[in-house]
Symmetry: C2
Subunit: 889 residues, 2 copies
């Protein structure tokens, strides 16, 4: 280990490191080295590698040879800067900053103004010509170091500071004079002595090592650990420590400091964008005590530095080939860059910058595709709260489905429908939603629930419809009978206005204005593409992604309307058409309920005959919307009790409607109740016990296909049997479907190419895929249910413990959002391998929630499936993610 | 196909077939051939192979060459018998009988007395010297052939017969004289002509083929198909057809017929055992019109034939090396064997016969082990209804747990306890049971439920306790509030006596005497082994099985009492000790409920502290009972709501007891309610959220182990975490357990060897077994839950469709009774392979219901696991099945 290098120097136009060394030097350190190398003015300094952090945290000490290396580099720093470490006359001051390979803004410690002590503070006072500034810096340093390194509670420093303000009769710290600050410095030192039991360290080297170790330790601060967990950053990569010569933007009116972006981070427009302050330090810009100026003003106030900054920012963007986020300081007219990094940006900006940089020849189309965080495309599709309004946030839930909407609160689906029919905007508020609420959800502007997670019924259905939803609001109690909800001290009654922001999870009291996004205005036909710059970039980048991707992208769409939206977003077919969703529309539910309550097959057939024409016309319209593309229709899946009312009043009404006694109806409802409905009488199990349902649905599909075909539409029906657990079960259903096909297509004299496939959504189906593939022409992995069964995890009940599992790292992600590759993914691989052994090249796709998740899409690509299917509003995400998966080799 | 042989002849001491040809000739045909070959007197005949049945059913016709083959064999038969087919003087009569490779008693057609027609009947009358007999035979033949071959409804024949009795003024058919029978024959022929539209066939060859095709068709009779389904007999093997020369036991007082067993089929005693009738045909013995005589009487009545029969039966048993079930006929003093086959027998007889035959040098100990149907050992352990009593059967349910018991009906657990404390024998009658009923189940003699299947709570718990249970009685309604149950017209109120037979599923009104079985009397110490012949054979055969088996057999036992019973049955440790079952005893449930209702960790710890000493003393007693054997203890598994009351009255009482408001309690109960509790907050998920439970339970285990060890007991604790889905989850729990171990064992200064393992009961656990094996020292496959998740099948809800799936062959067996090898078994193989790759030689076992099922045990053996664990009363079954698995190579 003796020849191992731990420290990398930069300064005077040459650096030991380069931008390629991010893993070793952290993002900040690598870019400081790179800037130095390409001639950008950067204060000199050195970087201790990330590796040291891991060593220190493991061994509670650092390698002995590091002390020598640091000593050598301090010496180089003194040479380059012409100042001396701890010197009384011309003291070299440094900052000690963390900087990992992945940015963790604000999560870790930084200590400025080392080495200040009783001697160097006088030198600083002299050199700056401002003793007040020097002692204020010293006071701040004592406080920062005392808190971070010595663990003296920050409040104790604050108390002394406040006492000083009181005795001096001033309001702001900045009004304390030099003398007060000098006294305060002495009081701070006394405080430290009492708290720690020894003097505040005056020794420069001790200060440096104290600060360095504190930075390392801060890697394990709870907030940092949490941040890494949430953002999927590994725990063992550690942070680098950057020791950089201090430069001061507060040395007078020829000094200043600022932050800037090389392009507009919210729109992506090509315009230098930033803020700065004259005679100030970085923290003043952040703290907001003085209002920063727009960067353009710098051309008047610090013209030379501005000119150099403009040149530099252009050079940096060209060099780094991406939009840069800069920090700079001007010390007595001289510009120093303190940091550069790729700037964070909105989805709109990301698209526009990527597209423009391709036009400018800076990057390739492949790079453009790879640069857009696919999941952010969501932002572009949903209504937004018109900016500049203010209203109280009354609570916050999970941002289950993006967009924003205002409306009056209503507490049941029927009321939602009545009020919506009267022209009211309504927001449906429930403890949780069930399929019975569907008609209310359709008319509502948004859905708000107190229970459920990101994959609850409300969340899934709303995302499917592209409707805003906030779910799982803790401490919110909904009283649907009394028609109000409470949260904290606030009570919202039926008819009161609220606004829900599905992008943030915020719920506001009152009506806030929302507007459709630019992209949606084009999709709706209310805006012209050529006047929609974001839309144009969106379309362009997606086309580039399309050029690269191998995966097809289909949509989960249950109605003709959804199918049309899906097409507008570029869906290449329907991957999942859930026929049961059609059952809830209008008075269809009555026929469904009549079927459930029938005493025998004849009765069921009578009721099914009523549903046939309705399903047929829906299918015909869906075939029309998907002209030329495949439409994969799943036969009835949910347990029958989902179609029956559970409430008292509704039961009474239904009994009257169907002409049965209330007791009889309750008996049926009771008999259908299940201990674990997820694992109960549903899917193929219903179709096996009531094959007449399969018959009716197949008939509707084939008749619709023939009618559409006769109208010149190219139909590609696929019929899919849900919840299969054995090949023979599928054979049973296949025989019925084929029988109906022969009858219908024979009678109508119109051949139709169709395929029969199956959902793979039970582990046993995946494990016996080889036999199932003999009967199925394609597989559609129902990853929602496959996740529930593989992990033994009910998505309706997991809310109590699943967050803990993700937090503790017991599961890498929420498996309902990101496909669980180790478990569910392994089953998918097993099924694909054995299925394709039986039926070479067999078509396969996934159609769960995961079909719209970029990480999951990458897995699907690698595993060799043919397509993903997701809700219409996630089609753009899937197109982009599929392109990225293909390019990420 | 021309050289293919379809017909096998036997007669005159030589046969084309042998006993080895069962698959080709069926059991009956192969044994007729064998008997012929070894010189046993058998009427001559020939067998058409099973293959023909399959061909006929598929093609609706038979191979043309068969007609020639049959013609040749008929000729041989005429030669050997000295009679001629269809001859007027000396007619050859034959029977046409089915006979498959596997016996299906009474399921298929047989037609006797071919060829009778208007001509041969006269010959028969002359030769028998009994015209009445000849015409009665003819009448019967017309009826049988008309029904079976010509499909004339049997009732029509019966009507004519009844009319004849009325006009003749007689009561029994046997009182009809020759003349009446002659007229009846003419009437029957007329009936056939009108019904079929043509004459009854008089042609001998047409009769033969008609009968043969009818036998083939009868393979597809509903009752035959059902029988095959229930008994797992393949559909495609078909039946052979045996054409055998008729011999008549009703030719006078020197004739007779009978059935006999070479040993007593109910006790296994070595004594020739049978019944016979003089001057009678086989069907008379079966019909029960005349009371048959004990076989010993034959020595007086037909002394020569008896002597030959005694010789023959000995020869047959020696030749077939198994107890034989014989049919014989004596025609005019000459003995004919019509059939021999291995005799059906009770479990007691099977054991005794096998043991005796080893002693006699007839078979090897391995053969003895292989001969006992392992699942039948159950019969030997449970109380039996004392024979010779009669009472009305009021209903029949599933025989969920064997044994028989009488008691007064009670309708809730508390009443059960009260009445039992008063000394009453009680039978707990419920719609279904829950863990709350446990204390009532413990004191009840039997449990009777209207719902649930073979793996419902009542069934599983009762089998575990070796307590009689009948579950899922259709059409039984239980009104627990009003305290009665109804079934049909019968109402049984609280306090009325009923008797439940868990071996048959019968429920009787009134009290029937029951007695413990012989084996149980020895186990209980109320009988001496040397006076218990069945017990001795049982013990001997199990010891032979033990000599062969590789698998260890453990028991699922939750209490010290269960542990002691398990040891008495030869369990080699405990494979599953469900700690939560201890939570329901006495007032422990209060502490459990207090824990659940606690507002914070402190409150939970207070309640857990009360449970600690109780669990500790239980564990200590279990360690004592299992001295020297491993005890595998599972930490808390079920969801918390199982410990809370759901009823109104009980909730009120509990609220008072715990000093909380009823609303508060209801709120907690409500908050714990889950949509799919099977996939909810339970197992490791509870232990992760409430690690203090793990701490308390581990502490109780280690403290108990130390105390037991200090008393000289050899303790081998294994601690198992349930419902693990990821390795890190297990690490979390392992750290807690190890921490407690260090504290307890350190403080008490007593080292204890212990192991930490996990249940593999979720597909994800099996799929990630490689990582889990890094943390787990052993795997215990929880095949109940693994079946539920792998098949997506709730065992509480599957009753509505699962029987259909088994009936349709969509699943090979009920997966909750026989391990699903294709699905669940595949996961077990994956887990074993990858787990042992990580941890070579790692110990593994299964502990679900399947641990006591012979087919599943064979799979476990083949898959290389180390042990099975089952309820104490199934330990003998498992020992035997494990021995058989090892021998079945």
């Amino acid at each position: 280990m003796t020849n191992h290098r731990y420290v990398y120097f930069f300064g005077n136009g040459r650096a030991d490191g380069t931008r390629e060394m991010k893993a070793l030097l952290g993002g900040k350190g690598a870019n400081l080295a790179e800037m130095t190398n390409i001639g950008v003015p950067v204060p000199p300094g050195f970087t201790m590698t990330c590796e040291l952090c891991a060593i220190y945290l493991k061994q509670q000490t650092y390698p002995q040879e590091l002390r020598d290396e640091v000593a050598i580099n301090l010496q180089r720093l003194e040479e380059v800067s012409g100042k001396a470490f701890g010197d009384a006359e011309n003291p070299l001051l440094v900052s000690v900053r963390s900087g990992g390979a992945v940015s963790m803004p604000g999560m870790m410690e930084t200590i400025l103004n080392l080495v200040l002590n009783d001697i160097t503070v006088e030198g600083l006072a002299r050199n700056s010509g401002n003793a007040r500034f020097a002692f204020d810096s010293y006071r701040r340093f004592l406080q920062m170091y005392g808190d971070v390194v010595l663990n003296v509670p920050i409040q104790k420093f604050e108390h002394l500071l406040e006492a000083k303000r009181l005795t001096q009769g001033v309001i702001n710290d900045s009004d304390l004079n030099e003398k007060s600050l000098r006294t305060l410095v002495e009081e701070y030192k006394l405080l430290v002595r009492h708290a720690v039991g020894r003097e505040f360290p005056m020794d420069p080297v001790e200060q440096l090592w104290g600060a360095t170790e504190a930075v390392w330790r801060s890697w394990m601060l709870k907030k940092a650990v949490d941040y890494r967990r949430v953002n999927g950053i590994p725990d063992d990569i550690g942070t680098a420590v950057n020791v950089v010569a201090m430069v001061f933007g507060n040395m007078g009116d020829d000094s200043g400091t600022g932050v800037a972006f090389t392009r507009d981070p919210s729109t992506g427009e090509r315009a230098f964008y930033g803020e700065f302050l004259v005679n100030a330090q970085g923290e003043d810009v952040v703290a907001g005590i003085r209002t920063p100026l727009r960067i353009e003003r710098m051309s008047e106030l610090l013209p030379d530095a501005y000119a150099e900054l403009m040149q530099t920012q252009l050079a940096l963007e060209t060099h780094f080939r991406d939009m840069q986020d800069l920090e700079f300081t001007v010390e007595r007219g001289k510009l120093y860059l303190l940091q550069t990094r790729n700037g964070k940006r909105t989805a709109a900006a990301a698209l526009r910058i990527a597209r423009d940089m391709v036009d400018e020849g800076l990057i390739t189309t492949h790079e453009a595709v790879m640069r857009i965080p696919a999941h952010q495309l969501d932002q572009l599709l949903h209504p937004v709260i018109d900016s500049g309004q203010r209203a109280p946030v009354i609570c916050k839930g999970l941002p289950a489905s993006p967009g924003a909407a205002s409306g009056i609160a209503v507490f049941d689906a029927d009321t939602a429908e009545q009020r919506a029919n009267r022209g009211d905007s309504v927001i449906l508020v429930r403890d949780e939603t069930t399929p019975e609420d569907f008609h209310g959800m359709v008319v509502a502007r948004a859905v708000l629930t107190s229970r459920g997670g990101m994959t609850s019924h409300a969340a899934v259905v709303c995302r499917g419809m592209g409707k805003c939803a906030v779910v799982g609001v803790q401490n919110m109690s909904v009283d649907a009978e009394a028609r109000y909800f409470r949260v904290g001290d606030t009570t919202v009654r039926e008819g009161e206005w609220i606004t829900v922001d599905g992008a943030t999870g915020n719920v506001y009291l009152g009506e806030l204005q929302t507007v459709p996004s630019e992209v949606m205005r084009v999709i709706n036909g209310t805006a012209r593409p050529d006047q929609a710059p974001t839309y144009l970039a969106f379309r362009q980048v997606l086309e580039w992604a399309d050029d690269s991707r191998r995966l097809r992208v289909r949509a989960n769409a249950d109605t003709p309307k959804d199918a049309r939206i899906a097409r507008a977003f570029g869906a290449e077919g329907i991957g999942l058409c859930r026929t049961e969703h059609m059952f809830f529309e209008g008075d269809r539910i009555n026929a469904v309920r009549e079927m459930i309550l029938a005493h025998d097959e004849m009765g069921r057939r009578r009721a099914l005959a009523k549903l046939l024409p309705m399903q047929r016309s829906d299918f015909e319209a869906i075939f029309e919307a998907m002209n030329g593309f495949p439409v994969n229709i799943r036969l009835l899946d949910p347990p029958l009790h989902e179609f029956l009312p559970h409430g008292g009043e509704e039961t009474k009404m239904l009994a009257r409607q169907l002409g049965v006694s209330r007791e009889e109806l309750l008996r049926v409802v009771d008999a259908l109740r299940e201990t674990n409905p997820m694992l109960g009488h549903r899917g193929a199990r219903l179709l096996v016990t009531y094959p007449e349902i399969t018959e009716m649905q197949s008939r509707a599909i084939f008749e619709a296909a023939v009618r559409a075909k006769r109208r010149g539409i190219v139909v590609k029906p696929e019929i899919m049997v849900p919840l299969i657990m054995s090949a023979k079960e599928l054979s049973h259903q296949r025989a019925i479907i084929e029988d109906v096909a022969r009858q219908v297509l024979g009678a109508m004299g119109e051949p139709i190419d169709y395929q029969i496939g199956t959902m793979i959504e039970l582990p046993r189906a995946a494990l016996t895929a080889s036999a199932i593939a003999e009967v199925a022409e394609y597989f559609s992995f129902g990853t929602n249910d496959l996740t529930q069964t593989t992990l033994g995890l009910s998505r309706d009940d997991a809310g109590k413990f699943l967050p803990l599992y993700v937090e503790y790292g017991m599961l890498p992600d929420d498996p309902f959002q990101v496909l669980d590759q180790e478990g569910v993914g392994k089953l998918i691989r097993i099924a694909m391998e054995s299925g394709r052994k039986t039926r070479p090249g067999m078509k396969a796709g996934i159609c769960g929630e995961h079909g719209g998740d970029p990480k999951s899409i990458a897995f699907v690509h690698r595993t060799g499936l043919d397509y993903v299917s997701c809700s219409p509003f996630r089609v753009p995400i899937a197109r982009l993610a599929a392109g990225q998966a293909a390019l990420d080799v």
